[in-house]
Symmetry: C2
Amino acid sequence: MRDAVCLVSGGLDSATSLAMARAEGYRCSSLSFDYGQRHRAELQAAERVARDQGVVEHKVIRFDMGAIGGSALTDPGIDVPESGGEGIPVTYVPARNTIFLSFALGWAEVLGARDLFIGVNAVDYSGYPDCRPAFVDAFESLANLATRAGVEGDRFRVQAPLMHMTKAEIIRRGVELGVDYSLTVSCYQADEDGRACGRCDSCRLRAAGFREAGVADPTRYR
Amino acid sequence: MRDAVCLVSGGLDSATSLAMARAEGYRCSSLSFDYGQRHRAELQAAERVARDQGVVEHKVIRFDMGAIGGSALTDPGIDVPESGGEGIPVTYVPARNTIFLSFALGWAEVLGARDLFIGVNAVDYSGYPDCRPAFVDAFESLANLATRAGVEGDRFRVQAPLMHMTKAEIIRRGVELGVDYSLTVSCYQADEDGRACGRCDSCRLRAAGFREAGVADPTRYR
């Protein structure tokens, strides 16, 4: 059985990505980050998702992205927008997925895992540069130059199984695989109980996905 | 004046790399990491070096690499070796420079800096995969795909000015630029006052460098 490290944010996409890794036969360990994000209810959601899907180990790495600033998700001085605009939104967190995958790579190397799963998506997404196929490919190349394992020819793979799926397709696939979406939180400004605002970019994409998939939306709104 | 983010570990190499960035006319901000390393005296050294060289801001980001393990530098259960061996040593920290550069990238994007300086070296080094030119080039490619700035065509550069220098050349260049090496700590197991063991890989490379450069070694040994 091959090992994989799966990034799990507590949101809908990464819960599905984890389920797809398991369905492919990987023995999954999951990784979340406490990086000073506003939507801290996601961290509890990540742990619930990981436990529900029976991961080998769920790890949370803490660091302070707020010290760097520059994003509505980590800087209390920048408001979370309630309607989508043009270009890359203020909820973009500089270098976030690069940092997340770097930690996943380090842990994978220690565990002997060679597959990293990340729930990024280039279709129904918010325009973040670090959610594109070229980014994922570049990280995989880097991983194989950066590590002992890569140098020794035991190649890493960065898998983004949701990359070309619509939100509705993701939800349908997750339902097939038994993902319990009531455990997940997508809202950028969920309250402490994980109840969603229903208005931010992430809430709107999620709600539209359930509608289009014809699946009852289990999201708890406040 | 262009801004740069310079990784500063408290060691000899990064102090020189920072001085070279300044000599090239960059306005430098410096970044260190408190990642659970054994040689914590390096962190104080990093701050002294940054202050001595008059950086705009010195930032320390904290995270726990020990939670990942896998290295003699972060895992108390693995001894630091006192003689060099073949291949990649146990002092290799999985994905360390990838993680460090990722944070530097995030901060650079927020600051509007487009140059990252890292004091890695492929000549007199310890055999770490993430100190090679191919690694640095791959990270630069990644940086320009991962970020808002990169996507908008404002390219990042990852500069490793020490890459092809011997330790003696690094020291001579640093002396020319006024680097005060008495502020730096290279030892993998320095004591709380920053005094070096004189026996680990890093100590041996450093001492040989001063000898070869014909420069008095200011290292305080215990």
